[in-house]
Amino acid sequence: MTDKVITADRLTKSFRFAGQTVQALREVSFHVDRGSLTAIVGPSGSGKTTLVNLIGGLDNPTSGELWVDGVPVHELPESRLTDFRRRKVGFVFQFYNLIPNLSAIENVALPLEFQGVPRTRREERAAECLAMAGLPAERYRHPPGRLSGGEQQRVAVARALVHGPAIVLADEPTGNLDSAMSATIMDLLRALARDHGTTVVVVTHDHQLARRADRTLNIEDGKVRGVHERRTEGSTDCG
C-alpha cells in the first residue's frame, strides 16, 4: 500500500485581481505518493503555481481540504503555516531567488537558521547538501552573483533539501536554464526522490522534462484534466 504524502480534496482557490474574482483552482482532487517525483504541467494561468503555493503553505485555500504529511494545511492559521513551511517544505524557484549578499553555503543554511539549528551543525549540513547538489567545494563561499545559473539552481536545490523536508516544491526550476542544465537539474530532483525518499513536485511547461517524472498532473483552467503514471504508462482523470 502506497503512502500518500499529499492529499487534495475538492481544493478551491479564488482571489481578487484587478477588481475581479479569479477562480485559480476549482475543486481539485488528487494525491501524491511519498518519495515520488510528480510533474504538474499546464498552460500559463492554468493554476499550477497557485496549487504549489497551497501545497507549500504560502497561501490558504478558499475551500476544500489539503493534507500534507499528515498536516491539515487548509486549517492552519498563518503562525502555524510558518512552522509548517519551516519543517515540512522545501522550495525551488525559477529564478533561484538566492539572497544576493549571502554566500552559497549561507543561503543553503538559512532554513536551518530559522529552525534554530546551531551554526556549526548548520554549516556541516549545508556543505553536505551542496555536495549532494553537485556544487564544487571551492564555490561554497561565493555569493550568488559569482555563480552560473546552473550553479545557482544547484544551491537553490540544496537549500530546499537542507532541513530534510517531507516535500520539495519546484516551480519552473529549469525555466531559466539551457536544455542540458535543465536535464541535469531534473535528474538531480529525480535522484533526490529516488535515493532519499523525498517527495518532489515540479511545475513545468516542458513536457520533455515532465516525462522524467513518475507521475504527471495536467492542469487546465484550474482543474486537473488528467494524471499520467509513468510506471504503469496509464492515464486517469481526477477532475
Partner: protein, 428 residues
C-alpha cells in the same frame, strides 16, 4: 542573533545609497548634538550663576537704578549691623562702588585706563556684578585686619595690561595702594575690577554711606522671608532685590530665544533624521518584497523579518549617530559658536533691564564706554558656552540613534513582516 547580523550586513547592500543616507543622518545628528550641547551649556552656566547669586539679596538706596555711582543717596553704614542681626542672615557685605577711577600704575598715562573700584568688607567673599564670585589666584584676599589699610586685590586682566605684580604700588584717586592679591573669575568684566577695604573706599571717594549691601541668606528658603523683613523694616528708603528672582528670571528670559532656537533645531534635526530612516526603509522593503516572500517561503517567521529589517534600520541610524559624533567632535565648537552668534544678535537690545541692573555694571551712559559694557553684559555673564564631546553626550547620541532607528524603521519593518509570501512572489 543571525537576524540582527543579516540586518547589519544588509545596510551595505546598496553602498552608494547607504553613503548618501549616512551623510544626511550624520549631519542631522551633528546639528542635533550642537543644539543639545548649546542648551546644556547655557543651562549649566545659568545654574552656575544661580548657585552664586541664588541666596543673595541686594539692598540699594531707593531709586538707585543699576548702581550707586549715579545716585546721591547712600545707605547708612549702621545698616550693616542691623541687618546682620536679622533671622536667616548668613553674611552681610557692605559694598562701595567707586567711580571708574583712573588707576595709575608704574607708567601712568601709558596704559592706565579707568577701572571700576569696589570697596568691600575685608575678610568676606569678593563678589562682583551682584554676587558673581571671584577667586584670588595669587597673593591673598583682603583680611579683617586690612580694615583701614591701603591694600588692593586687582583683577588678572588689569595685572596683565598694567604689568602689575604682587607688592607693586598702584594709585587710586592719587593715593598709593599696595597690591596684595590678584583675582580671577569666569566673568571677563570682573577681571578688570579692583577690590579695596570699604572703609578705605569711603574715605578715598569722599562718601558718607554705602552704595549697596549684599545680604547672603542662610539658604534659598530664607530668601523670600528675609526680603519681606527688609522691606518691612526699611520701607521706601531702599530697594530690596532678591537676585534669584531678578537676575535669573531676566537672564533666562534673555536666553529664551537661544534656548528655543536650539530646541527647535534639535526637534527639526530629529524629525529630518526620522523621515530619512523611514523613507529609506520604506524603499528597502518595497525593493526587497520578493526576497521577503522567499525568506518566508523557506521558513522565516514574522519575528525573523521584523528583527532583520528593524535591526537594519537601527544599524543605519546608529551609524549615522556615530559618524555624526565624529562630525560634532570636529565641527561642533564652530557650529555652536555660530548658533550663539546668530541667535544672540538681538539679545543686547533686549536687555535694557538685564544684566546691567543687578550688578556693578554702570547703566548706559553713566560712564564713558558704559553702553558697550552694558550691552556686553549678557555675553559676559554667560560667557562662551563651551561645547565639547562628553561621554554623556555620546551616550545620548547613541541612544538617540537607536531610538530613531526603532521609530523610523518600525512601520516599514512591520509592513515587511506582514507581507503575504504568495502575493509578493506572484506579483513579481
Amino acid at each position: 542573533m543571525r537576524n540582527l547580523y543579516r540586518g547589519l550586513r544588509n545596510v551595505w547592500r546598496n553602498r552608494s545609497r547607504t553613503v548618501i543616507v549616512l551623510g544626511i543622518l550624520s549631519l542631522a545628528a551633528c546639528l542635533g548634538l550642537v543644539m543639545l550641547a548649546v542648551e546644556e551649556g547655557i543651562g549649566s552656566q545659568v545654574r552656575r550663576l544661580e548657585q552664586q547669586v541664588g541666596t543673595i539679596i541686594e539692598v540699594r538706596p531707593a531709586g538707585a537704578y543699576g548702581m550707586m555711582a549715579v545716585t546721591d543717596t547712600l545707605l547708612p553704614p549702621s545698616m550693616v549691623e542691623e541687618i546682620a542681626a536679622m533671622d536667616g542672615v548668613a553674611q552681610v557685605s557692605p559694598y562701595v562702588v567707586g567711580r571708574m577711577s583712573p588707576l595709575t600704575g608704574l607708567r601712568p598715562g601709558e596704559r592706565g585706563g579707568r577701572r571700576l573700584v569696589f570697596g568691600v568688607a575685608p575678610g568676606g567673599e569678593l563678589t562682583v556684578m551682584g554676587g558673581g564670585q571671584v577667586e584670588v589666584t595669587a597673593g591673598r584676599n583682603l583680611e579683617p585686619e586690612d580694615a583701614g589699610r591701603a591694600v588692593a586685590v586687582i583683577g588678572s586682566r588689569i595685572a596683565e595690561l598694567e604689568e602689575l605684580d604682587l607688592g607693586d604700588e598702584i594709585l587710586i584717586e592719587n593715593r598709593p595702594f599696595s597690591v596684595v592679591g590678584i583675582h580671577e573669575s569666569g566673568l571677563r568684566l570682573a577681571a578688570m575690577t579692583v577690590f579695596i577695604p570699604y572703609d578705605v573706599a569711603l574715605d578715598v571717594f569722599g562718601l558718607d554711606g554705602l552704595s549697596q549691601i549684599y545680604v547672603r541668606a542662610d539658604s534659598i528658603g530664607y530668601v523670600d522671608p528675609l526680603r519681606e523683613a527688609l522691606i518691612a523694616r526699611y520701607g521706601d528708603t531702599v530697594d530690596v532685590i532678591a537676585q534669584k528672582d531678578n537676575l535669573m528670571a531676566r537672564l533666562e528670559d534673555s536666553l529664551a530665544s537661544l534656548t528655543s532656537a536650539s530646541r527647535l533645531g534639535l526637534v527639526l534635526s530629529l524629525l529630518a533624521a526620522g523621515v530619512v530612516v523611514f523613507g529609506t526603509m520604506f524603499l528597502v522593503v518595497r525593493e526587497r518584497a520578493r526576497e521577503i516572500g522567499i525568506l518566508k517561503a523557506i521558513g522565516a517567521g514574522r519575528r525573523d523579518i521584523l528583527l532583520q529589517f528593524g535591526s537594519e534600520a537601527v544599524f543605519l541610524s546608529l551609524l549615522g549617530a556615530i559618524v555624526g559624533l565624529g562630525l560634532f567632535a570636529v565641527m561642533g565648537p564652530a557650529l555652536a559658536s555660530t548658533v550663539q552668534q546668530v541667535t544672540a544678535v538681538q539679545a543686547p537690545t533686549a536687555l535694557p533691564r538685564g544684566i546691567g541692573e543687578f550688578g556693578a555694571l554702570p547703566r548706559p551712559g553713566a560712564v564713558p564706554g558704559g553702553t558697550q559694557i552694558f550691552r556686553a553684559g549678557m555675553a559676559m555673564a554667560i560667557g562662551t558656552v563651551e561645547v565639547t564631546l562628553t561621554w554623556a553626550l555620546a551616550a545620548r547620541a547613541i541612544l538617540g540613534g537607536v531610538a530613531l532607528g526603532l521609530a523610523g524603521g518600525l512601520f516599514p519593518s512591520l509592513m515587511a513582516a506582514r507581507l503575504k509570501p504568495a502575493e509578493v512572489i506572484r506579483r513579481d
